[in-house]
Symmetry: C2
Subunit: 144 residues, 2 copies
């Protein structure tokens, strides 16, 4: 599926600005930093994933969220397979420099299960319950 463009103009950064951000981020011993993707405007927390230095730089350079896939041990440009891209709106660094908040405009859905966000399991009536519907059949779009 070819990526659907977002109505939001991507925020991109100059190489010098990327260097400033990278200098402020404290990557962990594996060279990674957790990145929380939040929908711009609504505040919905979409997902949490990890970025290495290259993913941070690529996200800031291109205005599209890119991560490091720990399961695949490979760069992961969100939406390359599914078309469900995340357009960068703003990048925030926390007080300790060890967590990122990535404000994005999500095209389609964030979760590989086809739900809009990944946080759909909660305790209800004594059991683990799925509290959000599948809105996209990811078998048809390809998962990423």
């Amino acid at each position: 599926m070819s990526p659907v463009s977002s109505p939001v103009k991507p925020t991109t950064y100059l190489p010098s600005e990327i260097d400033v951000a990278l200098a402020a981020i404290r990557f962990d011993t594996q060279g990674l930093v957790p990145a929380i993707a939040q929908q711009h405007g609504t505040g919905e927390v979409l997902m949490m994933a990890w970025m290495d230095r290259n993913a941070v730089a690529e996200t800031m350079r291109t205005g599209r969220a890119c991560y490091w896939s720990r399961s695949r041990q490979a760069p992961w440009r969100k939406g390359d397979t599914s078309g469900h891209i995340q357009t960068l709106v703003d990048l925030r660094i926390d007080c300790d420099g060890d967590t990122l908040l990535v404000l994005v405009d999500q095209t389609g859905v964030a979760c590989h299960t086809g739900r809009h966000n990944c946080f759909f399991q909660a305790i209800r009536g004594g059991a683990l319950e799925t509290i959000a519907p599948i809105v996209v059949d990811m078998d048809k779009t390809g998962k990423d």
Copy 2:
């Protein structure tokens, strides 16, 4: 400072429900899981911290967010020093079971710097800028 009570009634869980949640969470090799604290209602992402099994159980049992402090290597019941507690509203587990979204009602401020949330650094005009004001003098309340 004694904790200020929240107007929100804390959500608490039965021991059997805590067991269900703990079984669904995939703790990392250090026995920790990242927990994103989000303000109920507004959607503001307040902070990201880590929980071990005891912190998850204590949070669910008491209805007050508790974490594991990696820097102090000790349990960390948010607000015990500052009074700035987080009252639990709902606990969400993500698709892979390896990240928590903790919906809370924040009393006071979430950040140890006295800002309302921890994500106050952003790139503006080529430099790292602080984009949120200090709203509480944490030297007076004690930090946690």
